[in-house]
């Protein structure tokens, strides 16, 4: 190993080493971000094809022709898989976590830079396998993103590809989680105690534990399903199963319910993997743009820890109608009601943070403000699904789709956009255009609501979530079928409102106004106050920062500016004045 260089010394490395096989967490973060955004766009495209079909069943799509039921099922299953595992998680954790966490804790890089690189490449190839599955005989997986057996066990080859893709993605997230936890515990700068870490770092910390401990049981389930498909075992196949091809020739004796338990043991914590980093981003943006400390920082951290713990014992609320028994249902609906408390605490704390702030309505702040009511609404619509008596009629209807999408689309995705608008100047050294940002925000939030709110109405009317023709088969759903056109138009409008974002994102790289100072938003956390823009490659800081205070010291009385950075050794005079003022008050 070469002797340590000064961190500002820049190395000349080849193209591949700099941009593709980089070990710099910032480059890996950008790789994750761009790949994830492309997957989000692709997954969104699948959904647009489905919405075309739902609004006008059987009408031919230009270039593609009329959708067949098989294609519709493939698109549905892959939309869910791609959005969750290849879009939002890599964006929230892989991109923002990778780029921001080491900077915010004052670390030169992640603890294991080469594992970090491996993690991206496992993710990338997992994505390639998922995409390739569209081209195998009879196409991609068709059993839904949940891959419930027995259907998934007897599915075509695409399902096997889905399982191998998941194994790669799980490996990627395992390497990432080990890396994040080790980095946060080991590489905090001098003075960066746990309770001086920005809330975003806390959110990533708890998220990493969820990824570390919840994913392996799904991997176990994945191996069992692979064995069912490739070795003809019957872990998930009950005896006496009959398909359209006649009785199934397997030993039987297995249990489809077993898959559901193992799947949801992952997939419920996964929901919090989707939402916690979003809360972290919103917390950063709110504190910065209200110019005051987060309200109840410690309370929020304790809620986060409690929430992470509870998320492991609520999984069976997805399974109330499987006949697993009322005693088990009772247990899981109690834990589900309990877990809503820390979520409400965090959301309330974020709302109270607004109180008395001198709010700057910047574009990231708009997205963060949009997140608050939308996530709240998503959470509230979830309550009827967490209680068995109300869940039974709503299960597997569009209500579930509406609820879930309120949490992740106008919830998490708005927060992701807040993060992009907030950290873009640090990453590129240029500002994003304000007007295009406003068009993007208002267009997106309105069209998202027009897409998802009617789903709740359709769901309460009893329309099932998986119907190829959107529900025309059943006469009872005729009363709510006209919403399908409205929702589909709104979905295409949502696509149109992403165009200003894309233009903004790429044009600003070259044409955006250059930022005039390293600390563009006048923020207190280390990624803004202690690094140049963009941060030093391979090492981050010109001098390693020392941390003197908590993360959100905005508007400190007596201080010359309205923010006091974490690494600023405050002049004693100012402290004394502040103390005097406090005494007088």
């Amino acid at each position: 190993m070469a002797e340590p260089h000064s961190s500002s010394h820049e190395h000349k490395q080849g193209f591949w080493r700099t941009y593709w096989f980089s070990t710099d967490h910032k480059v890996i973060g950008i790789q994750y971000g761009i790949t994830a955004l492309l997957f989000l766009l692709f997954g969104f495209g699948l959904m647009l094809l489905m919405r075309w079909q739902l609004a006008s069943p059987g009408v031919e799509i230009p270039l593609l022709g009329a959708l067949t039921p098989e294609m519709y099922n493939q698109f549905g299953a892959m939309h869910g898989t791609i959005m969750v595992f290849l879009g939002i998680v890599p964006l929230a954790v892989g991109a923002f976590g990778n780029y921001v966490v080491p900077l915010q804790i004052g670390a030169p890089d992640m603890a294991f830079p080469r594992l970090n690189m491996a993690s991206y490449h496992f993710f990338f190839w997992g994505g390639v396998v998922m995409l390739a599955s569209f081209f195998v005989p009879e196409g991609a997986a068709k059993a839904g993103w949940t891959s419930y057996p027995p259907l998934a066990d007897i599915e075509t080859m695409g399902q096997t590809m889905w399982l191998w893709g998941m194994v790669l993605l799980i490996t990627s997230s395992l390497l990432g989680a080990v890396n994040f936890i080790t980095t946060i515990i080991q590489l905090r700068a001098d003075g960066m105690t746990f309770f001086r870490m920005p809330f975003f770092v806390w959110a990533q910390f708890i998220t990493a534990f969820l990824l570390l401990l919840a994913f392996p049981p799904l991997e176990a389930a994945g191996f069992l399903q692979l064995a069912d498909r490739l070795l003809d075992t019957s872990f998930f196949l009950p005896s006496g199963l009959v398909t359209t091809d006649g009785p199934l020739e397997v030993a039987g004796g297995g249990s489809p319910l077993l898959w559901q338990h193992l799947f949801w043991f992952l997939a419920h914590p996964e929901v919090y993997v989707l939402i916690l980093p979003a809360m972290g981003i919103v917390a950063e943006v709110l504190a910065n743009n209200t110019r005051k400390p987060l309200w109840g920082y410690r309370l929020m951290v304790y809620s986060l820890i409690f929430l992470g713990f509870m998320s492991f014992i609520v999984w069976a609320h997805h399974m109330f109608i499987t006949g697993m028994g009322t005693a088990i249902s009772a247990f899981f609906q109690v834990t589900t009601m309990i877990i809503s408390i820390p979520s409400v605490v965090i959301l309330s704390a974020l709302f109270i943070t607004l109180w008395g702030g001198s709010i700057r309505f910047t574009v990231p702040m708009l997205f963060a403000l949009g997140f608050l009511p939308m996530f709240g609404f998503g959470g509230l619509t979830g309550l009827p699904l967490g209680l068995a008596p109300t869940d039974i009629p709503l299960h597997d209807t569009y209500y579930v789709i509406g609820h879930f999408h309120y949490v992740v689309a106008p919830g998490t995705i708005l927060a992701m956009f807040a993060g992009i608008y907030y950290w873009y100047p640090k990453i590129t050294g240029r500002e994003l255009n304000n007007t295009l940002g406003h068009i993007h925000f208002w267009g997106s939030i309105v069209s998202m609501n027009v897409i998802f709110f009617p789903m709740l109405i359709q769901g309460m009317a009893g329309v099932s979530r998986r119907l190829f023709d959107g529900g025309h088969t059943y006469s009872f759903s005729e009363g709510v079928m006209h919403y399908n056109v409205l929702m589909s138009v709104a979905a295409f409008a949502l696509l149109a409102f992403q165009i200003p974002f894309l233009i903004n994102f790429f044009m600003s790289l070259k044409r955006g106004r250059k930022t005039t100072r390293d600390n563009h938003w006048a923020a207190t956390t280390l990624e803004w106050s202690a690094t140049p823009t963009p941060p030093v490659p391979h090492g981050n800081f010109e001098t390693v920062p020392t941390v003197y205070r908590g993360p959100y010291e905005y508007s400190v009385p007596g201080h010359a500016t309205d923010f006091l950075s974490q690494d600023e050794a405050s002049p004693p005079a100012a402290e004394a004045v502040a103390a005097e003022e406090l005494v007088e008050a």
Partner: protein
Amino acid sequence: MSLQIPYEVTPRLDTGVNNAKLGIWLFLASEIMLFGGLFAAYVFLRMGADAWPGLEIYGTGEMATRADQILNVPLATLNTMILIASSMTMVMAWASLKMDNFSRYKLYMGITILLALGFLVVKAIEYGDKFDHHLYPATNNFLGVYFVLTGLHAIHVTGGIIVNAWFWGPGTKMWTQGTARDKAHFANRIEIAGLYWHFVDLVWIFLFPTIYLI
């Protein structure tokens, strides 16, 4: 790689560990969840089964009532001994490095690898015997659990052999040609590989009674 990550070799004072030590424990925690999921699946399937193991004893036509009437307990006992012995030689290999005795390290690490290979040979004999009697993973869920759980464990053993073989062969350059810091780093790596190896051993110690004996 020009960048030095802090606490790569020496422990951080307030946490008391270096990065790799923390990392491997986190990895092992996730491995516990993986095998935990599989053990849970085993319990779930067995509780729901009509009969367990649900197979005839070879050649007698009688239904087996216990797993040991189907599976080869003496061979599995031998394998348990082999793995425990290899865990001991693994510790001795690390201890030899700590005492700066490189040739003894090579000896103990070599024995560890040979024992692990022996474990796989015994496993192969066991599997072959099952196939000869037309007992396959698809036969029933008892055999499915047996093959998938022991198979996944055997993959972990194979992974350990690859890592240990690297540290026995080409990886030793770090010790033989390195500075004092590199030597300390190498010894740490053997400790980490050892932690993984003991975990693989421990998984077998749980697998043996749950699958073969009860």
